[in-house]
Symmetry: C2
Subunit: 260 residues, 2 copies
């Protein structure tokens, strides 16, 4: 049985609480939150405290709070014997106080209390400073998810850069599309099923293969027509991304000995 | 009963054939394809011809072939009395020969024979040159989809520009993420559930609200760290898109009277 204490009351804490509560051979013995935010969303059967000096003895303490508060809270946990992990993608392991057993359990997903999710499909990226703690963390992680990856803080930062493109930047492309629809007086609804399918396709197809459109075909006539209707950042993004796509596929065709 | 003849053998023709075959008060009386490609994928009960002079008399002829071949095939259909529609998002209605009843039935989705889809959820954008034909086309479209939109060729081009951002450019962001994972030696698998969720979220949330990440927070420390690990087009795209996101949310906060 792995005894776990959870610290936090936000989106990540909410989904972790649900997953830990259902996991076999895992006991979520306590939850801490400073001011009891979102208490109504959490399972009432989990003992809840609002003071750190009331924390029970556990094997793993999971800090699921804002990035900027991780350092401070960990400095108040120096007396604990268990493994203390944070759940952030962007914060290095050594942001946690140096006198504790430190680790990271980072769910690579955009989580929201409002949105139910199959947590066992969420990839968990883990890190610890020695084999014993890494094994313990791996054991816990694999009880709540089928997809566990070991990455150190350097690799996790690289993953974060890739996630910025995969999530933040793709979402901004949806935002540009919504903006344009508004400007052009076209209902954005028309594009929603296409957006859903764009993400679904990547689950079984390499994005390089999934690419379509005028930039891939290097269709200058259509590209010029489109540019004539764009201005400001939309125009700059259209030009840069179109050039990058065209270059990618020209290179690809060159490599296969086809046309320039 | 609306009698339909379908011309084509590709991805769009395949899904239209399935949808038309199941639609009430619609009879798919014939399919034409020049060289019988993909014949095995199509329902054998649909009469199939490979010569245009064998086309039956129908209410609507749907041309689901490549953009560049639409003009030529329509010039060979001048003798037909029914409504002749193409299925392209990028081709104006007047690319069809002027001596026929012309229209457009454009499914706004990325369709593939390999991938099953709920066709009644695919938005259909329709256009015709007079009310009688528009009504007929609307009647047919609403028998195979719950989402029918009337847009003329000018508006359809604008929709296409928006779709380039929503689909082509977002997919290229996934492609950049996959590239970076390869370069950084991180499994791209880790990001796939996040990519799926990115598209799902837009189904019920404004992309402007769904935006997260260092660019939105204007977190210069993280942005600088990320840029130091990027080069070439990845770096250029990171800089431009980050600046555009930061600007969007600064403006937003300004409008609400918050910080600059």
């Amino acid at each position: 049985m792995i005894k776990v204490v959870l610290l936090g009351s936000g989106n990540v804490a909410y989904h972790l609480a649900l997953a830990l509560k259902c996991a076999e051979n895992v006991e979520l013995i306590q939850r801490y939150s400073r001011n009891g935010t979102n208490t109504n969303f959490f399972d009432k059967s989990i003992p809840h405290v609002t003071q750190l000096n009331l924390l029970e003895s556990a094997d793993i303490y999971i800090i699921a709070i804002k990035d900027e508060a991780i350092s401070e809270i960990s400095s108040k946990l120096k007396h604990l014997k268990g493994l203390v992990v944070h759940t952030s993608g962007a914060v290095p392991i050594n942001t946690l106080s140096s006198n504790i057993n430190r680790g990271v359990l980072y769910p690579v997903q955009s989580l929201s209390i409002k949105q139910q999710i199959e947590f066992n499909k969420v990839p968990l990226v883990i890190e610890a400073e020695d084999d014993v703690n890494l094994q313990l963390l791996h054991k816990l992680a694999s009880k709540i998810s089928k997809h566990v990856f070991e990455l150190d803080s350097v690799a996790r930062e690289k993953l974060h850069i890739s996630a910025v493109f995969a999530n933040n930047f793709s979402n901004f492309m949806f935002s540009c599309a919504a903006d344009l629809c508004k400007k052009f007086e076209i209902p954005f609804e028309v594009l929603k099923p296409l957006i859903l399918e764009t993400g679904k396709k990547i689950q079984y197809m390499d994005p390089l293969e999934a690419q379509t459109g005028p930039a891939k075909r290097n269709d200058q006539e259509v590209i010029e027509k489109h540019l004539s209707q764009l201005s400001g950042d939309h125009r700059k993004i259209y030009q840069l991304v179109t050039a990058a796509i065209s270059k990618t596929y020209q290179h690809k065709e060159n490599n296969h000995g086809k046309k320039l």
